[in-house]
């Protein structure tokens, strides 16, 4: 509206700070001034980067919704990459590698045993480092062990890691040095017992938030995470052990990839509109990279199973795939926290269908409903 601006400038006089009309166009225009709120401000989304899978009907149609000047409703996590996605990735790798190490010990695959056990303790430790480094007050990490709260997956996880890292370390030390085989075997059993928990609790950790893409995905997320962890541990085995010993590593990676891809697909489909963040933007790019790398890694590992080089390359691809998946889940969650659409639309839809989450709406519309039953009876 150059005319209006010209009028405005005329009114304000020359040299007035604010909007200016110059020969290069408008200067200092504040586009947000035009923001309309309180009326339906839903913007049609999609277009760029949008990818909908195989013709299924989305649960939620492209909805219009209201927001407060498009400000997010929830506060976005302050967690940062690479700390937190790395923490998720390494925890999965560690937990699954402990299982692989224990199995390798039982079946006499010495090289696979050693590399898996060393990999497990290293990954477990680095996972903890990622968590501590992300703290606002890292020197206060030990406050995590002040209480044990089953309502806080981070508390459960801290205790788990505190128990897991020493036993995984003992198992690795014994496997590398060949000393204290009895204690080593006991530590191996302990690490293999805690391992599956270490690989899976992080799914509850991110789901137990108000971040729509994480919370709503809580049914499938643990399976995606253990699948991704198995892929990573298999990849580590393929990368580090000779081909004569890598059979189980290959099989584990195969199973892990299958589980991860199947449950991820299911999660995206079930989430409907909220699931779109897993195929959009940065999150979507990482998820796609993870899928490509894991499929390529598994196919290559099966075809090239007699080649040491092919196995190692495919193993590295699987590790990268698992990391990419975690980075993807991390960023997709951030995207869903950033846009009020993902918070408001599903909630509004619940209300419109007359199904508030707990059966009772948080909004009381009629005065009668606020009257206690006894008072109502008297009236």
């Amino acid at each position: 509206m150059p005319t209006d601006d010209a009028v405005e400038r005329e009114r304000q006089g020359a040299g007035t700070p604010g909007t200016d009309v110059t020969k290069d166009g408008l200067r200092g225009v504040r586009p947000d001034r035009e923001a309309v709120t309180g009326v339906t401000t839903g913007r049609p989304r999609g277009g760029r980067g949008r990818r909908r899978r195989g013709g299924e009907t989305p649960q939620v149609p492209d909805a219009t919704f209201t927001s407060y000047y498009a400000e997010p409703v929830i506060n976005k996590p302050v967690w940062e990459a690479p700390d937190i996605p790395g923490y998720l990735f390494l925890g999965g790798l560690a937990g699954a590698a402990s299982l692989l190490g224990a199995g390798a010990q039982r079946t006499g695959r010495r090289r696979l045993e050693r590399s898996s056990k060393v990999g497990a303790v290293a990954a477990g430790f680095l996972s903890l480092v990622g968590l501590v480094h992300d703290l606002g007050r890292p020197q206060r990490f030990l406050n995590m062990l002040r209480v044990f709260k089953v309502t806080s997956p981070m508390s459960v996880g801290s205790w788990l890691l505190a128990g897991y890292i020493p036993v995984a370390g003992a198992a690795a030390a014994s496997a590398v040095t060949g000393r204290a085989p009895r204690a080593g075997a006991a530590a191996t059993v302990a690490a293999a017992t805690l391992g599956p928990a270490v690989a899976s609790y992080t799914a509850a950790l991110i789901s137990d938030t108000a971040v729509p893409a994480w919370h709503d995905g809580y049914r499938e997320m643990p399976f995606v995470f253990v699948g991704s962890g198995a892929t990573a541990a298999g990849g580590l085995g393929l990368l580090t052990a000779p081909v004569a010993e890598t059979g189980p590593a290959r099989a584990l990676a195969l199973a892990g990839t299958a589980l991860e891809l199947a449950t991820f697909e299911r999660m995206e489909r079930r989430l409907g509109m909220v699931g779109e963040v897993y195929s959009q933007g940065r999150g979507g790019a990482y998820v796609r990279a993870g899928t490509l790398l894991s499929v390529a890694g598994v196919v290559g590992a099966v075809l090239g199973r007699r080649s040491r080089v092919a196995s190692a390359v495919c193993g590295a691809a699987m590790l990268a795939a698992s990391a990419a998946t975690r980075w993807g889940v991390f960023h997709a969650g951030m995207q869903s926290a950033d846009d009020p659409k993902y918070t408001v639309v599903p909630q509004r839809q619940r209300l419109e269908q007359g199904e508030p989450a707990t059966g009772t709406s948080t909004t009381t519309r009629t005065p009668a409903a606020t009257t206690a039953p006894s008072e109502a009876a008297e009236a």
Partner: protein, 326 residues
């Protein structure tokens, strides 16, 4: 600040622990405690003066929260965060509202003719100002002072791994700054986007419902300073009753848009300790329309985690069985 560590050594009574109407202070391990205190923010009388924002900052010595010009309505504060514990939302709407006509449009008034009278309004008319419902306008302003809801079931408190967040004897939720290690878990857990991390400090901060003032029998700074009593402080039971009466009187007066938000103890967070009277849908003010405490689903989450862990063990065993062949 916490007189007891409520998480250790408490034998939890799990009824109502995750959902529904409950006495949060008792859930938190307090036996002999004062009544639950809270806020009722009646936005229908808010004039957007931001006295609450200022009083809160002053009393709690909160640092500056960013000097930005947003260009959106009159709100440069934007939202709650580590350094904003009260936030006054300004909503400009294209919605009709009965307007008051102060009768001060002066077209067609012959000032010279009025001059002998000595005043624009004749002395007998000056006692009253004509206030009549005018035509519906096409713009209205809604103002609302937002704050931490001090949820009955507070997700921030549930997920805090250090026990830094705790339940006070007044049923409110407070961060203990000497314990918080800045893990950041509470931040995305809050369904309302209240608590946040102070960047240069690393820890999480939010409204304490002026815990320090409450313990000496004072009302919180924001309520004390609110010139219109839009922010009312008191025992929650009393506030809920008062809010019900206010809603009824507004509906009787024809303001059928009025509604209460967070008053119902059976909603997704078990009712808010700080609840609101709104004049439009919650999302218009930036509030979630159907918030749920995320830990409601935590038992189901742990079950799925258990199943997934078992699946992983199964996959590993199968891998060694099949590993001989592939």
């Amino acid at each position: 600040m916490a007189p007891v560590d409520v998480t250790i050594g408490r034998r939890p009574d799990l009824t109502g622990a995750l959902l529904g109407d409950t006495d949060p202070a008792a859930q938190g391990g307090w036996t002999d405690h004062p009544p639950r205190m809270g806020f009722f923010t009646d936005t229908s009388v808010c004039i957007g003066c931001k006295a609450c924002e200022v009083a809160c900052k002053e009393w709690n010595a909160i640092p500056e929260d960013g000097l930005v010009f947003t260009g959106m309505s009159m709100d440069n504060t934007q939202g709650l965060g580590a350094d904003t514990w009260r936030h006054v939302a300004f909503v400009e709407q294209r919605k009709p509202l009965a307007v008051q006509d102060p009768g001060v449009l002066h077209e067609g008034v012959d000032v010279l003719a009025l001059a002998p009278q000595g005043s624009g309004t004749s002395p007998d008319e000056a006692g009253t100002t004509p206030t009549t419902p005018g035509d519906p306008g096409d713009l209205r302003w809604l103002m609302a002072s937002d704050v931490c809801k001090h949820c009955t079931h507070a997700a921030c408190l549930d997920v805090c791994p250090t026990g830094s967040l705790f339940r006070t004897e007044f049923g409110t939720v407070v961060v203990q700054e000497d314990i918080c290690n800045g893990c950041g878990y509470c931040i995305p857990a809050c369904p309302y986007g209240v608590i946040d991390q102070r960047k240069d400090d690393g820890r999480a901060w939010k409204c304490t419902l002026c815990y320090d003032r409450l313990t000496v029998g004072q009302e919180p700074a924001c309520a004390k300073n609110c010139p219109t009593d839009s922010i009312q402080f008191g025992p929650l039971d009393e506030l809920r009753e008062r809010a019900g009466a206010r809603l009824a009187s507004l509906h009787d007066g024809g303001v059928t848009d009025a509604r209460l938000y967070g008053r119902d103890p059976h909603d997704g967070v078990g009712g808010d300790g700080a609840f609101f009277l709104l004049l439009d849908e919650p999302e218009v003010y930036g509030l979630p329309p159907d918030p749920v405490v995320t830990t409601r689903d935590l038992p189901a989450m742990w079950r799925r985690v258990g199943a997934a862990a078992a699946t992983l063990v199964g996959a590993a065993v199968a891998a060694f069985v099949a590993g001989r062949r592939i």
